[in-house]
Subunit: 533 residues, 2 copies
């Protein structure tokens, strides 16, 4: 009865109170083992460590498995430490180091024999061991050197709120599974709708799993309003084309960009009624914002719908000094917003706002067991039309707690801090003899390129620098292909996406030096062992 104790509610909080410290101790041990921002050695080392942790497959266990019909024999977890199993950090930054491209193996082998364990090890053992493993083998977004992606370090207040949501487990598909959770969600999404559309008569918003689902909803609502053709910039997120594919819509027409910004004149030339335009307020590659007022005007003139993917930039609305970047947003029919980017929520914390609440009527669905007409008429709120999912976690709860804790002013201040840090880091890139800056940041993304890549190494060197830092466990940085090459051909750049709200520019300066040094080392390594390139 120990391993299967319940959490929360009716008599279960005691067991949860016992187990959370076990999990946190495991996590702390794993963080200490890892040391750096990401485990060294790449995929092979992580997979090997997992296999080592499970112990060597014993012949006796294999026999037992054959006799027992599916018995795995792998449920007893060994005591090997992840840092013992992982190879020593690759001295890739030094001349003569093994080239990372050669060190990286093929896809990691699956650990164990593939079957789930039949016998359990108990809650404490499983929780302690796997929490330690997860922490030891994680890329840590709370480390400033983990700066590749729109992947934020979550706030403690949001994580603590999530514990309550998990333990009480309201499911957002019917009121009788989520009485106050649905009210709190409604209150929060109303606030988000007001944030995006301060002057609209009937805005509304719903919770999603992220920008990908929100962009899908943008195209879905357009489709249900008779739109047949998506249009987006060359800078749009891949989820736009993927949503069109899922929804059975044509492949989006792609409008050219300049400086990672959609060209309004080019849009104007191709737009017809029956189109939905997806503009971007904060591109994934560079954080650039499309010219929303002009795009909104062109859409209006052409009777086209407009959806804005503000998954990255949307929360700049909370900053008095930055919100003007989003002028025109309130003229869009719908907006995607992610609080697991600026917002510092654990994934997932997506939102989708619509200027006209009635547009969300497209999601209406009846299921007799969840929202029968007579129940709705008797006053039970209908939640099923608030999502394309059915069972749904109350992600709004931790978002609401966070906003109540910090206020939108507090969140806006964190956004400002990240953007200011990026501006300062960009200035230092521009001054750095070994690095070239793509352009000034509009949000918190700094795009750069080692100068040796221009001289000799090319895109391949740029890609190897990123992998070398990752393999060495030194840093996690991103990449972006941008049309800066001869004749507008794509060139590969390195990317720092700065979402750490407490890191300063000084925290990133050693990383700039390391990028430049690694580029030099990789260039030498590539010349010495051409087979590895």
């Amino acid at each position: 009865m120990r391993a299967d104790g319940l959490a929360g509610g009716h008599g279960g909080a005691d067991r949860l109170g016992e187990l959370i410290p076990v999990a946190l101790r495991g996590m702390a041990a794993g963080v200490a083992e890892r040391g750096g921002p990401v485990p060294a050695g790449g995929p092979a080392a992580v997979a090997a460590a997992l296999v080592a942790e499970r112990g060597e497959p014993a012949p006796a266990a294999a026999d037992e498995g054959a006799a027992g019909g599916g018995e795995s024999g792998s449920s007893d977890v060994g005591s090997a430490e992840l840092h013992r199993a992982a190879p020593a950090p690759n001295p890739a930054a030094g001349p003569g180091g093994q080239a990372p491209a050669a060190a990286m193996p093929g896809p990691a082998p699956a650990a164990g024999n593939g079957a789930l364990p039949r016998r359990g090890v108990g809650a404490e053992a499983a929780l302690g061991q796997l929490s330690r493993l997860l922490a030891a083998g994680s890329a840590d977004p709370a480390d400033p050197a983990c700066a590749a992606h729109l992947h934020c370090p979550p706030l403690a207040v949001a994580v603590a709120a999530d514990v309550v949501a998990s333990a009480l487990n309201p499911s957002m598909d019917s009121w009788d599974q989520a009485p106050v959770a649905s009210e709190l969600e409604r209150e929060f999404t109303t606030g988000i709708a007001r944030l995006c559309y301060p002057d609209a008569d009937h805005p509304d918003a719903v919770v999603t799993t992220g920008g990908t689902e929100s962009n899908l909803l943008g195209l879905l609502l357009a489709r249900e309003n008779g739109v047949v053709q998506p249009v987006c910039g060359a800078n749009a997120h891949h989820s736009v084309a993927r949503a069109a594919w899922l929804l059975g819509l044509p492949v989006p027409i792609v409008v050219p960009c300049d400086g990672d910004r959609l060209l309004p004149d080019a849009l104007d030339k191709i737009l017809t009624p029956g189109c939905v335009v997806v503009a971007t307020a904060g591109t994934t590659n560079t954080g650039t914002l499309d010219p929303l007022p002009e795009i909104a005007r062109i859409c209006h003139q052409n009777n086209a719908r407009l959806h804005v993917d503000a998954a990255y930039g949307g929360m700049a609305l909370c900053s008095e000094t930055l919100k003007s970047k989003l002028d025109g947003l309130d003229r869009a029919d719908s907006v995607a917003l992610d609080l697991h980017k600026f917002g510092w929520q654990p994934v997932a914390a997506g939102l989708f706002a619509a200027r006209e609440a009635a547009d969300l009527g497209a999601l209406t669905v009846r299921a007799e067991y969840l929202n029968a007409d007579d129940d709705t008429e008797a006053g039970l709120p209908d939640l099923l039309g608030r999502s394309i999912r059915t069972s749904r976690r109350p992600d709004a709860f931790r978002m609401a707690v966070t906003v109540h804790a910090l206020g939108t002013d507090g969140l806006g201040a964190l956004v400002e801090r990240c953007c200011a840090t990026a501006t300062e880091v960009a200035r230092r890139v521009d001054e750095h003899p070994g690095l070239r800056l793509w352009g000034p940041p509009e949000l918190s993304t700094v795009v750069l390129r080692p100068v040796v890549a221009d001289e000799a190494g090319g895109d391949e060197l740029v890609a190897r620098v990123r992998r070398a830092l990752l393999e060495a466990g030194t840093a996690v940085i991103g990449r972006a292909a941008l049309p800066t090459g001869p004749g507008g051909a794509n060139q590969l750049w390195l990317k720092l996406t700065l979402l750490h709200p407490h890191a300063t520019a000084a925290d990133y300066l050693p990383l700039l030096d390391r990028i430049a040094a690694t580029a030099g080392a990789e260039l030498v390594a590539g010349r010495e062992s051409p087979v590895a390139s």
Copy 2:
């Protein structure tokens, strides 16, 4: 700097360790306030309590808001207790009590003025207050009287594991955001694939947000394999038709059922190549399983694809005594499975298994910043094709921890216990003078109807009994429309879905009496105040 402290990883665990107890204390206070399985008074009381908690809207605050441009003035949370604001439990079970249909008002008003608070109250205050509110206003799945839906009480071990996942925040869309989280997911989903397809050469599985997304994937993979027509039983979950709509496929052809079970002969008559059949292993209404071996044979003969929605019944595979109910499952092309039902995970814990891993290739997508070809060639695993989402929470982690803690044998024992309890409760329904049993449970769902509904009250009375128990804060029970009326017309039944792994039949017997008594009282109330019916 207190409200915006980070969780986990690099130096953040201390703040998390401070805040989690605040959240748990708030939760415990809210559970104590609530007392019963669900707050009394229905939607109006819950909404009113939320408004009361925020305090009366002060005229001064409204003035400030007009001057400050969006200032909400509602961030200071009052101290009213939810139980004070809620009306006293409605004595609906007694003769002459106010009829619930009249007591239930229209949709609940939104609390506050709609804007998000600009100024925060700090992490401790926000967390303590909102955690208490959420707990006080929740339907508690850990209370046996909360038995309406496939809405389980989560295990403490799963919730504790989720804390680590939230704090470390790996995002599953690229390896460099989730090094070991992706390996642990791969290990776990391989095990799930083996559970569903023990004899297949190359099965695979991916994590989803639940049965709704898994059913969508089932139809999507079919569509990408050239299928043009979905087919499902009249017993299928509403998400099947919704998925067809989302994907731009035709409305599913609906095959008749008998006893909530798809009729194979009827399927055989309509099936053609180019169809995908969705069968159900555990219907939402009654927990009945479709005859999978016959359906698989018919699909094979007609060269049709087969997807099985085993969201409810799938984890019976973990029980040696129950697994034969799922014979034929391994002949399906794909399977939906939910560990937030049997599996006792907090939402979401969906899985989608495919017999042929190659079928999942339909999800392949390239995004230069996440899975560039040269990175993949250099050994970085490509995660983007493992989901239709992009950023993605590591829900597999808490599932894997749970399976390691309990083993599949342990989980299977919990499934068996729920099913045995349902069988015993059904026997007691059958013996109850005031209740009629729909039929013997196949899994853990007991479907019943007050006999007075047959005599006088009809479906309307059945619906009112459910709402009266909910309104009184006494119980949360479900409803199911089943074709048991004259000429096969739908009749409304009440439903108990027993997912509490530690409740015994004795825990449910008072509820049976209360259902019967409430039906009698509602019948009298309906006669006395016909305007309320």
